[in-house]
């Protein structure tokens, strides 16, 4: 009997801890959203975050997309070759990039670059009393630090996804015409003709959700960072892991909602 109760306790403890963590994140997110609707708004900080999260993530998202698009073209060609469907490379590269790989890989790259940097920056601000200093200077840390980052990530990641889609498709096109003997004009025509608005639109919506999750995780873990270098390191790691897992989970849920029959 005691063994059963110990087993149940061992299962129950992490489940309760997980539920408590989900609750804390939900309260944090609700608080951040509440602050988004009430002035003051720190537009300068928002502008800086648009540059930090959006503009400076372009190279990494672009590089990821171009190589992914190229590899995807090679894989589809090799796979399609087995049943004489090599010609669908442009269409599958386009749909694969726009619906899935553009937003997911773009989101994961932004998670690695941005969630870590947000968590480390805010965590360091916390351990060096800069967050307390903000409060004593009559500035709400949620408004000054969290809202500009969440808003900037939610708005800029879809743009990054759109750019990533275009670069990824271009990567596929480049491989298609140089390695797979596709005609350039035909490749591009097939891509454009086949793509529908919702293929791209669904990816952009995913991008907005992923951007929100990345910044939320960065801010949440930064604000709750423990003291010392080890605390900031742990917060950074947790932010990246949580953001990545949430992106993949949200991607599945959104795909179910958008495309399940």
């Amino acid at each position: 009997m005691q063994a059963v109760s110990s087993l149940l306790a061992a299962i129950g403890r992490p489940v309760l801890a997980l539920l408590a963590a989900i609750g804390r994140v939900a309260i944090f997110a609700a608080e951040a959203l509440g602050h988004m609707l009430r002035p003051p708004f720190y537009w300068r900080e928002f502008g800086q975050q648009v540059m930090q999260i959006g503009w400076f993530s372009l190279p990494v998202v672009g590089m990821t997309a171009i190589f992914t698009g190229g590899a995807l073209a090679l894989q589809i060609y090799a796979g399609g070759n087995r049943f004489g469907a090599e010609a669908v490379v442009p269409q599958i590269v386009a749909i694969g990039m726009a619906r899935e790989l553009g937003p997911v890989l773009g989101g994961l790259m932004v998670a690695a670059r941005v969630a870590s940097s947000i968590a480390a920056e805010i965590g360091t601000m916390k351990v060096t009393e800069q967050i307390d200093a903000l409060t004593t200077l009559s500035t709400h840390p949620m408004k000054y630090l969290t809202v500009p980052r969440i808003l900037a990530a939610t708005l800029t990641v879809p743009v990054l996804v759109a750019v990533g889609d275009a670069i990824g498709i271009m990567g596929g096109w480049l491989v298609g015409i140089t390695r797979l003997d596709f005609n350039s004009a035909t490749y591009l025509k097939n891509t454009v003709d086949f793509l529908q608005f919702w293929d791209i639109g669904s990816g952009l919506v995913k991008g907005a959700v992923f951007g929100f999750l990345v910044a939320l995780m960065g801010c949440y873990h930064g604000m709750n960072s423990a003291r010392g270098a080890q605390g900031v390191g742990a917060a950074t790691k947790s932010a990246v892991v949580a953001a990545s897992v949430l992106i993949l989970a949200a991607n599945y849920l959104l795909t179910e909602v958008f495309f399940s029959a």
């Binding site: 720190y42 800086q48 060096t128 009393e129 200093a133 004593t136 200077l137 009559s138």
Partner: protein
């Protein structure tokens, strides 16, 4: 006047404040002394609402600080943090003028910069420092910038959290003298927490000794050396033996 009555604060099983009673009259410079880990910073942060106390009351001019309108309440305070707590991403002048660039005290940018430079001069820093970033400054300069930021909006009450920690004796003397001059000049109420006895003698009108979560002794700085209180005597003379355990 700031008045604390029966203030308690615990972190889990650690009872940091066990019923602190303390009065800081308007225009007085109160220095709170005590060993490391005795709750001095918690006491100061409780007054500002950065830490929520568990029980007891803290009032500012008779108004409960927990019920005061937050922005108006905080606008009355300036604070110098132990490590400076300067914002790394902002230039020195933007740090000093932080309060003047946003919120209810917002001024035009040129005016805010001019005030920041004037405050930097007041703490002995040249105008050229204004466009540097905090990471380009020495520890002593960062403390001065923190002091300039604390006084930029001319607050009625200024808190100093271990103002000389990490500084050499000469720079400590400079900071102590600056604090004393500024507090007298502005007619501000000041509360300083420190375990540096040179700071106590330079800054204080009144001294309170915190130990074991309680105020063990309070009185004018002139009485500090003559008091028979064993806690104060052990502390100010830095003796290893006495009622305060050396290993805490």
């Amino acid at each position: 006047m700031i008045e604390l009555s029966g203030v308690t604060k615990s972190f889990g099983p650690n009872h940091v404040l066990r019923g602190v009673d303390l009065v800081i009259p308007k225009g007085t410079s109160m220095v709170v002394i005590g060993g490391s880990g005795t709750g001095k910073s918690v006491l100061l942060k409780s007054i500002l609402g950065l830490v929520r106390h568990d029980s007891g009351t803290i009032t500012l001019d008779g108004e409960d600080v927990t019920k005061a309108e937050r922005d108006a309440f905080l606008a009355r305070f300036g604070m110098l943090f132990q490590g400076g707590a300067l914002f790394d991403s902002l230039k020195v002048w933007e740090n000093v003028a932080f309060r003047l660039l946003r919120g209810s005290l917002k001024r035009p940018k040129d005016e805010a910069r001019a005030i920041a430079i004037e405050k930097l001069r007041r703490v002995g820093l040249r105008e050229t420092v204004a466009d540097l970033y905090p990471s380009e400054l020495s520890g002593g300069m960062q403390k001065r910038v923190g002091l300039a930021r604390a006084i930029a909006a001319e607050p009625e009450i200024i808190f100093f959290d271990e103002p000389t920690t990490g500084l050499d004796p000469i720079m400590s003397g400079v900071i102590n003298d600056l604090i004393r001059e500024i507090v007298v000049e502005m007619g501000a109420t000041a509360m300083t927490i420190t375990h540096d006895m040179s700071s106590v003698r330079a800054i204080a009108d009144q001294v309170a000794m915190l130990h074991g979560g309680l105020v063990r002794w309070t009185g004018p700085v002139a009485d500090l050396d003559s008091t028979s209180d064993p806690y104060v005597q052990q502390f100010i003379h830095g003796r290893a033996h006495g009622p305060i355990e050396a290993v805490r």
